[in-house]
C-alpha cells in the first residue's frame, strides 16, 4: 500500500487522532427509543454515565494527558451543571449536541435553529464559554441549517460521514466563515458494538454484546489503517458504555497503543478544525459534500 506523499498535519505528523464523547445521559436513548419513558431500570442503563462513567473516563483521559471534545445537549448540561463544569475545567472542549438530544429528522429548520440556540445559551451559561463545535445527535439536519450553525458561531461539526479527512461544508450566501466537518465512522464508535437493553430492545434485533477482545482487535486494525494512510481518526465514545469497570481497560489499552506512536497528532475537534480551515479553502473536486449539498438544498421535506 502507498504511504501518504505528504503530511496533512502540523509538524509533519503522520495522522490525526481526536477523541469525542457523547454525554447524552437519558436524553439520547429517550429520543432514540420513546418506549423508554418511565422505564426506570432501562433508563438507569443510560444514567450510569453521570453516575460513574464520566468520572472513570475523565480519569483515563487525565492519565494519558489527553483532551477530548465532549458533546453535551443543553438539557443535560442544565441537569448536570457541576459535572459539565468539571469536564470543562479539566481542559476538555464542550460541544453543542442540540438542546434535548432531538432527532433533527423530526424537526423543521426553525425548530432545529431553536434547539441549537437554546443549547448554545445553556452551555455558555454552565461553562462560561459558547461552544464552537456541534454534533447532530442522529447525524442529520435540514437544508439551510449550515447557515444557522455559522450564525451561531459554530466552526466545526462531527455529524456526517463520507471521508477519512476533515472537509469543508460549502459556503452559502455571504457567510464565508469556515465550517469544518470531522467525519464519523461506525467502526470507530463504542455504541454499535456494546449498547444493550433487553426490553425495550436496544439494539432492535437483540444481538449479543460484542467480544471486548475482538473489538479492541478491530480498533487496533482500524488505527493501523488510518496511520498507514495518514488520515484523521475520530473515536466516538459514550461514558455509560466505555466507562464501565470492565470496558474502561479496553480504552486504556487502545489509547496506550495509539499514543505509543510519536507521529500521531492528538487534537481536540476545535484544534483540528482550526488547522484544517487555516490550510484549505475548499475540498478536492467531486467531494461527497459538494455532490450532496446542491441536491440537499433542492430537496423537499418528506
Amino acid at each position: 500500500m502507498k504511504t501518504p506523499e505528504r503530511s496533512h498535519w502540523p509538524d509533519g505528523k503522520r495522522m490525526a487522532f481526536v477523541v469525542t464523547v457523547d454525554f447524552f445521559d437519558a436524553a439520547g436513548i429517550l429520543a432514540q427509543e420513546p418506549r423508554m419513558a418511565g422505564r426506570e431500570k432501562s433508563l438507569s442503563v443510560w444514567q450510569y454515565g453521570a453516575r460513574r462513567g464520566v468520572d472513570r473516563l475523565l480519569d483515563v483521559l487525565d492519565e494519558f494527558k489527553l483532551h477530548a471534545s465532549w458533546f453535551v445537549p443543553g438539557s443535560v448540561a442544565l441537569e448536570h451543571r457541576a459535572m459539565v463544569r468539571r469536564i470543562h475545567g479539566a481542559g476538555h472542549e464542550i460541544g453543542n449536541a442540540s438542546f434535548g438530544c432531538e432527532n433533527f429528522d423530526a424537526l423543521s429548520l426553525a425548530q432545529q435553529r431553536d434547539s441549537l440556540l437554546s443549547a448554545q445559551a445553556a452551555l455558555a451559561d454552565v461553562t462560561g464559554e459558547a461552544p464552537v463545535g456541534f454534533r447532530s445527535p442522529f447525524g442529520n439536519w435540514a437544508p439551510g441549517f449550515t447557515q444557522q450553525l455559522r450564525a451561531a458561531g459554530i466552526q466545526w461539526s462531527s455529524s456526517w460521514r463520507g471521508d477519512d479527512l476533515p472537509y469543508l461544508h460549502p459556503s452559502s450566501g455571504e457567510a464565508a466563515q469556515a465550517l469544518v466537518e470531522v467525519p464519523l465512522h461506525y467502526e470507530l464508535e463504542d455504541e454499535p458494538y456494546f449498547t444493550f437493553n433487553l426490553y425495550p430492545p436496544v439494539p432492535v434485533g437483540q444481538p449479543r454484546i460484542a467480544s471486548y477482545r475482538e473489538v479492541l482487535g478491530n480498533w487496533q486494525q482500524d488505527f493501523a489503517g488510518f496511520h498507514r494512510l495518514g488520515l484523521c481518526l475520530p473515536l466516538r465514545l459514550h461514558p455509560e458504555i466505555i466507562g464501565t469497570a470492565g470496558r474502561i481497560d479496553l480504552l486504556r489499552e487502545f489509547l496506550s497503543h495509539v499514543l505509543s506512536h510519536d507521529d500521531v497528532w492528538v487534537a481536540t475537534g476545535r484544534e483540528l478544525a482550526a488547522w484544517w480551515s487555516s490550510r484549505h479553502t475548499g475540498n478536492e473536486p467531486g467531494h461527497p459534500v459538494d455532490v450532496f449539498s446542491p441536491l440537499h438544498e433542492a430537496s423537499v421535506a418528506p
Binding site: S159, D164, P288, F292
Partner: protein, 290 residues
Amino acid sequence: MQANDGAAPSSLWPEGVRSSVALAFDVDGPTGNAMLDGSIWRNPSFFTLGAYGPWRAVGYLLDLLEEYRIPATFFVPTWVLENWPAQIRAIVERGHEIGYHGHQHEAFWQLTRERQQEVMAMSLALFRKHLGLTPAGFRTPSGDWGADTIEILLDAGVRYSSSMRGDDRPYFIDHAASGRSLVEIPGRWELDDYASLAYQRNPDYPAGLDRIASYDATFDNWRREFDGSHRDGLCMTTLFHPKVSGKPGRILLLERLCRHMRSRDGVWFARCGEVAQWWRERHAGARVVA
C-alpha cells in the same frame, strides 16, 4: 436449473490452473432504495456513508490490487460513474474490468420489461460517454431479476452475469427461445462483506442492528472459503463493496487475504469476463436451460 459438476478440479481451467479467483467489487456508493425513493436527499449521514466508496475506498483498493498484481471486476451503477468519473476511469486505466450494475441500483425483479431496457440503455450510453467502453458483464443489483431479464440482457449484448448464489463454479443459463446463453459466475453470501462488516443506521443495516464482526474472524472465514475453493478447483468470486471493506482498517484484512491467496500455486486470478470467456469456449457442451 441444475448445475454442471463432476469434473475433476484440474479439468475446469487452463493448463496448470487448479482454481480461479475472480475478485469483484460492487461500487454502489450512495445508490439504492433511498436514492430511488428520494429520501436520501434528506439523509446526509447516509449519503456520505455510501459516497465514501467511490470517493476514497476505490483508490485504496486499486493500490492494493496493483501491489498484489490481482486483476478484478468492478460493477458500477452509472449514477456513481456520472458523479465520480475520474475514480471510475482509474479502475479501467489500472487494468480492471467494469460491469453493469444498474443506474441507481434498481431492483430488476421489480421493474417492467420497458424499465429494465431503459436502465440498460442509459447505462450503456454513460459507459460509452465517460469510459468509451461496452461492458460484457452484469451483476443484478440486489441479486434478483425477473423472468424477462435474461432476454433483456442478451438483447443488450451482455455476455455473462454474476448474480446468482446457487453454485460454486460457472454455468450456462440458456434462453431457449433464441438459442442464446449467458455464462453465470455465481457468488456466495459467505463472500459478501455485507454479511459480516457492513453497518449503518437510518436505514438500519443489519435490520436488527447486529454487531460488526471481528475482522480477524472475518479474515479467517474468507481464508477458509478460498482454501476450500482452491482445494476443490472451483471459481471464487466476491461481493465486496468499497464503502464496506475498502475502509482503512479493512484494507488490511483484504491485504491478508490477497497475500494468502498469492502464496498458493495454481491460482488463476482473472477478471470475471476472462472466466466467462474461458467457460464459453471450453464448457459449451454442458448446458442447462433457464
